[in-house]
């Protein structure tokens, strides 16, 4: 009886296991601030701190600048962290159902690519 109960429980859990963590297009990727797990948990605090320092005090710490994050993490296909469902920012935020407000104002495009596009016009 016990065995049956556990196997039933296992069957119920299976669909949850099947929903894998999102596969992200990490662009160039690499690690420059902290390790991946730490960044997954804490990147928003870094960005929030950096944004106030940069705008209000003029302290522009390149390592913690959103622009520099995007420069490496934007997709190598479309130069963006928000363009597709598996883009670097969108992938996780969709999976976790957390609203992504940054890009209402900030550009999600790699700056070098944006400049090239503007100069081509």
């Amino acid at each position: 009886m016990k065995k049956l109960f556990f196997s039933l429980l296992l069957c119920l859990c299976l669909p949850v296991w099947a929903a894998d963590a999102p596969k992200l297009d990490i662009g160039k990727g690499g690690q420059c601030v902290e390790d991946t797990q730490w960044m997954r948990k804490n990147h928003m605090h870094l960005l929030k701190h950096a944004r106030d320092d940069a705008l209000r005090l003029g302290i522009r710490d390149e390592k913690r600048s959103l622009k520099v994050c995007i420069e490496c993490h934007a997709s190598t296909r479309d130069n963006s962290v928000i363009a597709r469902a598996d883009s670097f920012c969108v992938g996780c935020h969709k999976y976790e159902a957390v609203k992504l407000d940054c890009f209402e104002c900030h550009s999600g495009t790699r700056k070098s690519a944006w400049l090239a596009q503007r100069n081509a016009k």
Partner: protein, 238 residues
């Protein structure tokens, strides 16, 4: 003998400590001077001097450069953002006509900062008046308070912003004196674009800068000086 040893040890300890203290401030000073992250300094006052005699009526190059740099549409409907405008004025009694660019005057005592309920409208240490769009709730009090009508409200969703110039719907914006260029050692886009060099950009606090030598030697005025806001933008030949 053991007494002597103790003394020697203590002497060494204290002297090493003293040496560390002596080195530490030097190293600190060095790292601050070398680092890029010291931020905006209150020793600097960024400003502009506009020579209206050199400003040609009909020329719109500063406006175009601003629109290009900051990603504005360049349209002039009531709902479009305009960070800089060309204004033509005429003295009725003499018939003298002049043309001049008008933008945020980067006041020392900005009324837009006084009225902001969320502290989004702010003045940086180096005198640049900015909107912190992270805090702006779009109430537009600052637009009412500004005697220069320098601010605009973003009515529509935007895409394709300049990565250096974030802009978004529901917030107020105005001339930033191209703060993103200043922070990497550049100057404002309008002053670079003017074909007649009518706009001079620089540090008003630095006695050796070109702009402070010029305001020291030629007559220049602040627009609406009666309000005693002490704008950082001055006009010559007005």
């Amino acid at each position: 003998m053991s007494d002597m040893d103790m003394n020697r040890r203590n002497f060494l300890k204290t002297s090493v400590g003293a040496a560390a203290v002596a080195i530490a401030p030097g190293m600190l000073l060095y790292s601050v001077a070398q680092g890029k992250s010291e931020g905006a300094s209150s020793k600097v006052r960024w400003g502009m001097l506009i020579d209206t005699n050199q400003c040609k009526p009909g020329c719109n190059d500063c406006v175009t450069a601003c629109n290009n740099e900051n990603g504005l549409s360049g349209e002039t409907k009531p709902t479009d953002s305009q960070w800089i405008r060309k204004i033509d004025i005429k003295d009725i009694s003499t018939g003298r006509e002049i043309s001049l660019p008008m933008m945020c005057q980067h006041c020392e005592h900005p009324p837009c900062v006084d009225v902001c309920p969320t502290n989004a409208s702010m003045k940086r240490a180096d005198g640049i008046v900015l909107v912190d769009k992270h805090r702006c709730i779009g109430c537009r009090y600052c637009m009412m308070a500004c005697p220069y009508k320098a601010r605009s409200f973003v009515h529509e969703p935007l895409t394709g912003q300049n990565p250096d110039v974030p802009r978004g719907k529901g917030t107020v914006e105005s001339c930033t004196l191209c703060v993103h260029r200043i922070d990497v050692g550049g100057k404002s886009a309008c002053s670079e674009a003017c074909p007649n060099k009518a706009i001079m950009f620089g540090d008003l606090n630095d006695a050796n800068s070109e702009i402070s030598r010029k305001v020291h030697s030629v007559a220049s005025v602040q627009v609406r000086a009666d309000l005693r806001l002490n704008p950082g933008v001055r006009y010559q030949g007005l």
